[in-house]
């Protein structure tokens, strides 16, 4: 009898402890999310009635489809380039060269800096009068400058990569450093030159790290807001499109904005689930 009572007390304490966390989660995340969904289904500015028109009009429209494609394109391109950048970088960083402490801290910088500032700085660097084009003009005169980077799609991708590649790099590096050095030595002794060791042994073994890092990069790139807001120019991915619905119209198009936001959230979750499933599939193999 006493045992049961103390057990119940245990449960009660645990529940109490979890209360703040749950309150935050439910009140500041779940409830707003539900509100967003509800709003997306209501005709603009009204409190009753249901409609799917904002979803259908967005998905059916040329503009809507372009925005979705753009968002995916940016996210996928960013992820791809991040991987291409991170793998060699990780291979280099794991050998403790001179000043490797410094070089290791460098990729951390985009992580601690708000996207807004990064975007501003990058716009300055790659502007028509920025150092990038000055460099081309003065040091590489054979290239016809100025090269337009800002407000182009490739420029935007570059900015995204600047901000989000560290996620891929850090997980790749950590997986790489977790490798048993004996395995690479065994490959060398077996007669494999450095390239073959890389191709047959190292890369297959760090693939999980690369992939999990790429998921993070993708997620962030998909949901990126401040960069495209400031540096996107005419390119408006989903996140910016949502904001524009609120900002550009008076009265604000809340319902439309919410619909786009929900579409965005759903797309991201679907893509991620799919990706994770693929990842897990590989692991089992």
């Amino acid at each position: 009898m006493r045992h049961l009572r103390s057990q119940r007390r245990e449960w009660l304490t645990t529940l109490l402890l979890l209360l703040p966390g749950f309150a935050v989660f439910l009140g500041l995340f779940v409830y707003p999310f539900i509100i967003t969904i509800v709003l997306s289904l209501r005709p603009e500015g009204q409190t009753t009635g249901w409609t799917l028109e904002y979803y259908t009009s967005f998905l059916a429209s040329e503009h809507g489809r372009q925005v979705i494609v753009l968002t995916f394109f940016l996210a996928i391109a960013t992820t791809l380039f991040s991987v291409l950048l991170s793998v060699p970088l990780a291979l280099v960083l794991r050998r403790k060269l001179r000043g490797h402490r410094f070089f290791r801290a460098v990729p951390l910088i985009p992580l601690v800096v708000p996207g807004l500032i990064g975007a501003l700085g990058l716009l300055l660097v790659f502007g028509s009068r920025g150092w990038f084009n000055l460099f081309i003009r003065d040091v590489l005169p054979f290239i016809h400058g100025p090269i337009a980077v800002n407000y182009t799609i490739s420029g935007l991708t570059l900015f995204y990569v600047w901000l989000y590649f560290p996620y891929t790099l850090l997980t790749t590096l950590s997986t790489l450093e977790g490798l048993d050095p004996g395995i690479e030595e065994a490959a060398q002794v077996s007669g494999a030159n450095p390239w073959k060791v890389l191709r047959h042994v190292v890369l297959p073994l760090i693939m999980p790290g690369i992939l999990s890092g790429s998921v993070l990069t993708f997620m962030n790139a998909f949901g990126a807001f401040s960069i495209p807001l400031v540096a996107g120019g005419n390119y408006r991915p989903l996140s910016v499109d949502v904001y524009k619905q609120i900002q550009l119209f008076v009265p604000a198009h809340w319902s439309q904005a919410c619909a786009i936001a929900v579409i965005m959230g759903v797309l991201q979750v679907v893509f991620l689930t799919f990706y994770m499933r693929v990842l897990r599939g590989r692991k089992v193999k």
Partner: protein, 358 residues
């Protein structure tokens, strides 16, 4: 064809102020299994890594079959290596692991299959080709490692503490298997271990190392019965030591004075009268006699201080005149209680002198 399969000429490797290998000279003939034996930090692993190429010596040369490989990268040295923690490729099956060196060498498929099957059969793993390393026991993994090292018939096989990660019983079985394989294939092998039992059981020759140098090289018997230094005598087997001074020399007998007692030693060492030496004897060579036993050469009065019953044998601590304590191990047939007065005999042919003192 060179005289030696492996040669280290004056190889030296330093880490800052620490000298891991101090001018090592080593010659290993074809077909020999040589063990580098020593405590942690003695330099045996560094020496092996100079042979494999994973370390580059600061001075000296490494030669394999007469060829100077000091600057040759690891993957061109044609060696086979077995690792302490197996180092199998976790993302490949047993078959692919063993196939790996052949795949690198781009041999034709048929030949590869034949060789891999043969290698797996040699280590009795041919039924488990589809398994992954994580599904195998330690012993099985090590056998795969062996197969992978041998499948391309390297000139030399290197084994870096291959049995340390296995449990005791498995170790003994694998020891035997390894020796069999190496002998059967006429391979030259270098074995690194800190376990003297392994070294003595497996090797054609043993090189005992300490603080970066080779203290003594010889057959297991040489090392055990005729250690050339206090370190080797102490490291191999159990020993009783005492400082002594040479009293007289005649023929192959030397008399040494130890704490007022006189002991005869049969030794071929050329010693001078008055030289300070260390007398040592293995605890299981000391004979225990009843108190009433007749006096004689090398027979000394003693008293049992304490004893420990170990099942297979009894470990005695015995005190001789002059407070000379020695350890004696007997096969348990005599039981002499603590405190009893006895006599001990140090058979001259089992007494040794080492020309150094601590």
């Amino acid at each position: 064809m060179s005289e030696w399969m492996i040669e280290l000429k004056g190889t030296t490797k330093r880490y800052g102020t620490l000298v891991a290998n101090d001018h090592i000279d080593l010659q290993i003939p074809r077909g020999e299994l040589l063990t580098l034996l020593g405590p942690s930090g003695c330099g045996k692993t560094t020496a092996m890594r100079c042979i494999t190429g994973h370390q580059h010596p600061d001075e000296g040369q490494v030669l394999i079959d007469g060829q100077d490989v000091t600057d040759l990268p690891t993957h061109r040295r044609d060696l086979g290596m077995v690792f302490q923690n197996f180092a199998l490729f976790p993302h490949m099956t047993v078959y692919d692991n063993v196939d790996f060196p052949l795949m690198i060498r781009t041999l034709p498929h048929d030949e590869r299959r034949q060789r891999v099957t043969e290698a797996l059969r040699l280590v009795r793993m041919d039924e488990l080709g589809d398994r992954y390393p994580r599904q195998l026991s330690g012993g099985q993994q090590q056998r795969v490692g062996l197969a992978r090292a041998l499948v391309y018939r390297p000139r030399v096989l290197l084994l870096d503490e291959p049995l340390s990660n296995l449990d005791a019983k498995l170790r003994e079985e694998m020891r035997f298997e390894i020796k069999e394989l190496v002998t059967q294939l006429h391979m030259t092998a270098v074995y690194v271990t800190h376990d003297q039992g392994e070294a003595l059981a497996l090797s054609d020759r043993v090189a005992v190392m300490n603080v970066g140098r080779i203290q003594q090289i010889g057959t297991p018997r040489d090392i055990f019965e005729r250690p050339n230094s206090l370190f080797v005598a102490d490291f191999i087997g159990l020993s009783d030591f005492i400082e002594a001074r040479v009293d007289a020399v005649e023929g192959n007998s030397t008399w040494v004075a130890v704490k007022g007692l006189r002991v005869r030693v049969e030794t071929e060492e050329r010693l001078r009268i008055g030289q300070e030496v260390t007398l040592f004897i293995r605890p299981n060579r000391v004979e225990l006699l009843e108190k009433g036993a007749p006096a004689g050469e090398n027979v000394l009065e003693a008293r049992v201080q304490k004893l420990t019953y170990l099942g297979d044998n009894i470990d005695y601590r015995v005190v001789l005149p002059g407070d000379w304590e020695i350890r004696v191990q007997t096969n348990g047939q005599q039981y002499l209680p603590a405190g009893s007065s006895i006599k001990v005999r140090l058979p001259p042919k089992h007494c040794h002198v080492i020309a150094e003192q601590k």
